[in-house]
């Protein structure tokens, strides 16, 4: 039986309390049969909360001219989450239709801000999709995950840049460090780190 983090289904609707009131009233003792139901609910709620971590979307570094830019950041994966982590770290320049919008009025004070040579050069993406996002892991970039990653093979069929990660089952630490190197100068490093969770 696989359990997945789903606080919305289990915890928010007050399952344990409602079951307790319905099956047992307000008495101090609970009949054995009802105990089974209640404990399954209670146990699942605690599990779900323990797995309920979101992964931050980092919006930064909007500069297509920089090459070799590296970031390192800390992501959180709950200790109970030990199987089938999918990670996709994406970069995407500010685009609307596959090319960066006319950048005349976006930039910084290099002295060319208002001139004919803006700081951002138009870039045509190889395969624009979903607002022309692209993914790290393409030849344009690399991403690294440390520590504890014991399987970071690429997964066929998933979006480019998606890696399947397997974490040690005895892991206690929650933090995983992700390093992103932006070798092609795309901007806007993003983070999307999600996972399947199986505990049983």
């Amino acid at each position: 039986m696989a359990r997945t983090a789903n606080v919305q289904n289990w915890a928010i609707d007050g399952s344990a309390a409602e079951l307790a009131n319905h099956l047992c009233g307000d008495g101090p003792n609970v009949a054995p049969a009802a105990t089974v139901v209640l404990l399954m609910s209670a146990d699942q709620i605690v599990l779900n909360v323990g797995l309920s971590y979101c992964q931050t979307a980092l919006m930064c570094e909007n500069n297509t001219t920089q090459s070799g830019t590296t970031r390192e950041y800390v992501a959180v994966i709950p200790p109970a989450c030990n199987h089938g982590i999918l990670a996709a770290t994406r970069v995407g320049p500010v685009v609307s239709d596959g090319t960066i919008q006319a950048p005349t009025y976006v930039g910084c004070d290099h002295g060319s801000l208002l001139g004919a040579t803006p700081n951002m050069d138009p870039v045509t993406l190889a395969s624009p999709k979903e607002g022309a996002e692209t993914y790290l892991g393409l030849p344009s970039g690399k991403c690294y995950f440390t520590p504890d990653i014991i399987d970071d093979t690429w997964v066929a069929g998933n979006p480019p840049g998606t890696r399947c990660l397997k974490l040690p089952e005895d892991r206690v630490a929650t933090n995983v460090t992700i390093r992103v190197t932006n070798t092609a100068g795309h901007g806007l490093i993003c983070n999307r780190l999600t996972g399947n969770i199986e505990t049983l």
Partner: protein, 375 residues
């Protein structure tokens, strides 16, 4: 009395529960002990941000650069009501030609007000109150990523934090700043915490055939949800250096610092809008998402600019919600709500657009979306 929470969740297999166990301490005791674990070890990132900008000459988030002046970031925050310790983590990459000593001065201040322009003092409602430093780090290793962690108590009323980073010796990159609850290895009882969490004392039902009551069963839920809702998670972040200095170039008022800003170069033109940030955040198996938005936007125009930006949040099921952002130079807030498919790899996309008035520029200091499930 102090309780030591377990270091990991102990999850019962379904068959261990669903076989009509005799009325006894287990498995309820296990479930309650797990709630203690949550209190000690549920550590979502309260803040997670990388500085955004476009000029390596001024922004330490691009290529390693020596910036002798302090670089300041003002970031909204939504702390726990329990006055928890938080781990503040700076990830720095010093790079001095030929190697060498790299030291940094770090400082953190907090306020419970909404105006980031106030001075320093001891009254958080109207001043920036010092939380840490300024203190110099020990020398960091050159040309590798270094993380410095400091544990600080964050007041429950804090609305904004001010981070100041000063390079002492040479070029560096600031890769990431993260803030998460520190591990709690000892929980004080029996008080109910402001978050609603009531610690579980294992001795209550440690005896065989101990009575089981609905309060204890219900406490599994109330404790778990109290911790979950009290510890806001940073779903998305967009942070740039803080400055109020403005200049003029070609007749356009702008912020002369190496930062991303939307500028409108012609007094005769209409308002000009530009996307400045796009990203996606993972929300495993969450079917609905409510985001509490805190942000600071400023512009060089002389008056408040209502509708200076737009935050667009899109669920992976296609649902969309937008929040209009105002440029006031002060802390503002709002709420966004979308649904998702509820899959293990479900996510929401976020996008920030800014608008500049003719001959002026608009600049976003920081925008944080906090996630507090069910609240």
């Amino acid at each position: 009395m102090a309780i030591t929470p377990g270091t990991k969740l102990v999850i019962k297999k379904a068959q261990e529960i669903a076989v009509f166990p005799a009325m006894s301490a287990q498995p309820l005791q296990n479930a309650l002990a797990n709630t203690n674990h949550l209190y000690g070890y549920f550590r979502p990132l309260l803040l997670s941000w990388s500085p955004m900008g476009s000029s390596p000459a001024y922004n330490p988030g691009i290529t390693p650069t020596f910036i002798p002046d302090p670089v300041v970031y003002v970031v909204p925050v939504l702390p726990s009501q329990d006055g928890l310790h938080y781990d503040f983590m700076w990830t720095l990459f010093p790079k001095i030609a030929g190697g060498g000593t790299s030291r940094f001065t770090l400082q953190v201040e907090w306020t419970s007000g909404v105006d980031p322009t106030v001075g320093t003092g001891s009254t958080p409602a109207t001043k920036w109150v010092n939380l840490y430093g300024p203190a110099m780090t020990s020398p960091l290793t050159d040309s590798v990523w270094n993380t410095r962690t400091i544990s600080l108590v964050l007041d429950r009323t804090a609305t904004m934090l001010r981070f100041t980073v000063t390079a002492v010796d040479g070029p560096y990159t600031l890769g990431h700043v993260a803030v998460q609850p520190s591990v709690i290895t000892s929980i004080t009882t029996p008080a109910t915490y402001a978050s609603g969490f009531l610690p579980f004392d294992p001795s209550f039902i440690s005896q065989a055939r101990a009575p089981i009551n609905t309060e204890m069963v219900d406490r599994c839920k109330t404790n778990a949800l109290s911790v979950l809702r009290d510890r806001a998670q940073c779903l998305a972040s967009l942070v740039q250096p803080y400055t109020t200095t403005t200049g003029s170039l070609g007749g356009v008022s702008y912020y002369p610092r190496g930062i991303m800003q939307v500028m409108n170069g012609s007094a005769a033109s209409a308002n000009f809008s530009q996307t400045i940030g796009m990203a996606a955040a993972g929300l495993p198996a969450q079917k609905t998402f409510t985001g509490h938005v805190r942000y600071l936007i400023n512009d060089t125009a002389p008056s408040v600019f209502v509708g200076a930006g737009t935050l667009t949040v899109t669920g992976d099921d296609g649902s969309v919600n937008q929040l209009s952002l105002d440029s006031t130079g002060q802390l503002e807030h709002g709420v966004v709500q979308v649904t998702t498919l509820g899959n293990p790899d479900s996510f929401v996309k976020v996008q920030v657009d800014l608008t500049a008035k003719p001959a002026y520029s608009t600049y976003l200091y920081a925008l944080i979306i906090f996630w507090t499930p069910g609240a």
